[in-house]
């Protein structure tokens, strides 16, 4: 009956989580294991590989460059996307479809295709402006558009942007105030989420950097991998953990903020206390 059905479901869930958990954790654990191997078959575990990261100047430089790129991309994405999305909601609601389509285009146009088209442009940039690795940020903002748009869209849809801004304007607020002090605080979770997805993407990006001949984190890891696998894998694990921890923090911070903002009420979807299937 219902009790046995519930039991079967729990068993199924347990099995699924164990199997999938193993599948996803084992390679990460393997990386960790690999990066802490001592010399020789039965040598003890060592953090030598991790500690020697700083002795590779190229690697350190690449890490710093990637972090800078992440920051610039996140900022650039916000600067470009947020005002545009708010403006569209307030003044040009008919354009939302178009903006949505454009923002989802990078999912459709493969990165490698974009690179083929950007190649001549980057050549021109390098010759006439700057060949700094930070010019990659221009492309990275495009790459993060789909994820950032979805996140910001979810956040903006949850609040009534029109009413809030009209209320603020009627009280005498100028546009910067409306955006910075009325709207932004109410979509903080979505904002952080968008920024973090951007950071995760930039830290993990390889294709653009490699083919445009820049030395970012992933490219450095790849190059070093041929010479000293342990160190490069240590860096790889670190960047993965970093991104994951950031996302968890945001998720928890978002949950807490959500709880303090919602007024207790009945959500019709959860009225029936029955089981979800």
């Amino acid at each position: 009956m219902r009790r046995t059905k519930r039991l079967k479901l729990q068993v199924f869930r347990a099995v699924v989580f164990v199997v999938f958990g193993a599948f996803f954790l084992v390679p990460i654990l393997a990386m960790f294991e690999f990066s802490t191997r001592g010399r020789g078959i039965s040598a003890p575990r060592t953090l030598a590989a991790w500690q020697s990261i700083i002795t590779y100047p190229d690697l350190v430089g690449a890490i710093i460059a990637s972090l800078e790129l992440a920051a610039i991309t996140a900022a650039g994405m916000l600067l470009l996307l947020l005002p545009t999305m708010i403006w569209t909601r307030l003044r040009l609601p008919r354009l939302t479809r178009a903006i949505e389509f454009i923002c989802l285009l990078p999912l459709t146009i493969p990165a490698i295709v974009l690179i083929v088209g950007l190649f001549p442009m980057y050549g021109w940039l390098a010759n006439n402006f700057s060949d700094s690795i930070l010019t990659l940020a221009f492309s990275y903002v495009i790459l993060v558009l789909p994820y950032a748009y979805r996140s910001l869209d979810a956040g903006l849809s949850a609040i009534d942007v029109k009413t809030l801004s009209e209320a603020a304007r009627s009280l005498g607020a100028g546009w910067p105030t409306v955006i910075l002090r009325v709207i932004v605080p109410n979509i903080s979770t979505a904002l952080l989420n968008a920024m973090l997805l951007s950071v995760a993407l930039v830290l993990g990006e390889y294709t653009f950097a490699n083919l445009l001949a820049y030395l970012n984190l992933q490219v450095a890891v790849a190059q070093l991998g041929r010479a000293n696998a342990g160190v490069s894998i240590a860096v790889a694990v670190a960047s993965l953990l970093f991104a994951f921890v950031l996302l968890m923090v945001i998720s928890i911070a978002g949950r807490r903020r959500q709880a303090s903002l919602t007024v207790a009420g009945t959500d019709p979807q959860y009225l029936t206390a029955g089981q979800r299937t």
């Binding site: 009956m1 219902r2 009790r3 019709p268 979807q269 029936t272 206390a273 029955g274």
Partner: protein, 367 residues
């Protein structure tokens, strides 16, 4: 065709439904504490109460969507406590979202019959007739998102009845609808229920709904049934303070119990329970039992107050009077409320109906 009337003289089909000492607990909370209730064949019983009182739990136990921790459910003489929901021959209407979005109205209605292996042409025919019964013949090929909330609920009703269930279960079917649609639809539901004659359990938190359409109303609180009876009894002879305050409006007037009566501001009123112990108490007085006198000399006294506001409710009006140490509500036909503008000094007269008293400081239900 039956000659249906709300007093219930129509021919009844339908089976008896018995709930015996039903108990239900989840994670430490007791949702139902030994509920017993018998529904006569063809009867419509409304379970009324605030959220969390256990009424929905009771319904879901009858439906079989949840398992009881104790007690039995007997439908038509058969103990179905251990029978799964899909074998109990029930019909259920949910509060919202229960229509399958990928099926048209008529496909929704026919779905139950499809599960019962009824042939395709017969299905279509009967589904069509059910839609006609609820007044939606022209909407057969519409999808849920193309219909209003009220229409969706009527389709849900048709779907539940199409399989000719032994008992019809309605879980707050009107709560998600607009006020105007609600009133019309509840009469529709009653009309259909009388026509088909199915025993029906109707759960709601809206006392007006319950009183308007049920044969009997069961008022529930904290997992227990406080009173079960026809709507008139529930309203005019509430058995407990909770019922008195939950159903209809009540004035809470401080007073003192002495010798089987309660003294409220100088007026002695009889008690529903004459053996109540002496001492301070709160008398529960209906607004209709309070009349206001404007003519003659208004000498200051315990029964004198000033009108704050008059709410025009159509045939009746409700007047709020400031007594200095609290407010009192009086309700009367609008024709008598003409002179009662704000600021008028009035004297209260309390009708000598037996009253219930409460002893706690707080109201048993929130405003």
């Amino acid at each position: 065709m039956h000659s249906a009337s709300s007093s219930g003289t129509a021919a009844r089909s339908g089976v008896e439904v018995r709930l015996e000492e039903l108990r239900r607990r989840y994670s430490g909370v007791t949702a139902l504490d030994g509920l017993s209730l018998t529904l006569a064949p063809g009867e419509l019983v409304a379970l009324l109460g605030p959220s969390g009182c256990g009424k929905t739990t009771a319904l879901r136990l009858v439906a079989g969507l949840e398992e009881a921790n104790g007690g039995r459910v007997v439908i038509g003489g058969e103990d179905v406590t251990n029978v799964p929901a899909n074998k109990r021959e029930i019909g259920m209407v949910f509060q919202a979202y229960s229509l399958f979005p990928h099926m048209t109205a008529i496909q929704n209605v026919a779905f139950g019959m499809q599960l019962h292996k009824v042939g395709a042409s017969e299905r279509r025919q009967r589904a069509g007739k059910m839609l006609e019964l609820v007044g939606l013949s022209g909407h057969a090929n519409k999808f849920a998102h193309q219909m209003s909330g009220g229409q969706q609920q009527r389709v849900a009703l048709a779907r539940a009845l199409a399989i000719e269930p032994k008992v019809l279960l309605l879980d707050e079917p009107l709560s998600a609808l607009d006020a105007r649609v609600r009133a019309r639809l509840r009469d529709e539901i009653r009309r259909v229920q009388l026509e088909v004659g199915t025993t029906t359990l109707f759960v709601t938190h809206d006392q007006e709904e319950a009183l308007a359409i049920a044969d009997r109303v069961g008022v529930m609180n904290a997992g227990r049934l406080e009173q079960l009876g026809p709507p008139t009894s529930i309203y005019s002879r509430p058995a407990t303070a909770f019922v008195a305050e939950f159903v209809g409006l009540t004035n809470r007037l401080p007073g003192v119990v002495k010798g089987g009566e309660v003294d409220v501001r100088g007026t002695r009123l009889p008690l529903v329970k004459p053996d109540t112990s002496d001492g301070p108490a709160i008398a529960l007085v209906r607004p209709e039992a309070v009349s206001l006198v404007v003519d003659g000399e208004i000498v200051p006294g315990p029964l004198v107050g000033t009108v704050i506001a008059t709410a025009f409710l159509g045939a009746t009006s409700r007047v709020t009077v400031d007594m200095g140490d609290g407010t009192v509500l009086a309700q009367m036909p609008t024709s008598e409320a003409g002179a009662l503008t704000a600021g008028t000094r009035v004297r209260l007269a309390l009708r000598k109906d037996p009253v219930l008293i409460a002893r706690d400081e707080k109201a048993t239900t929130e405003a």
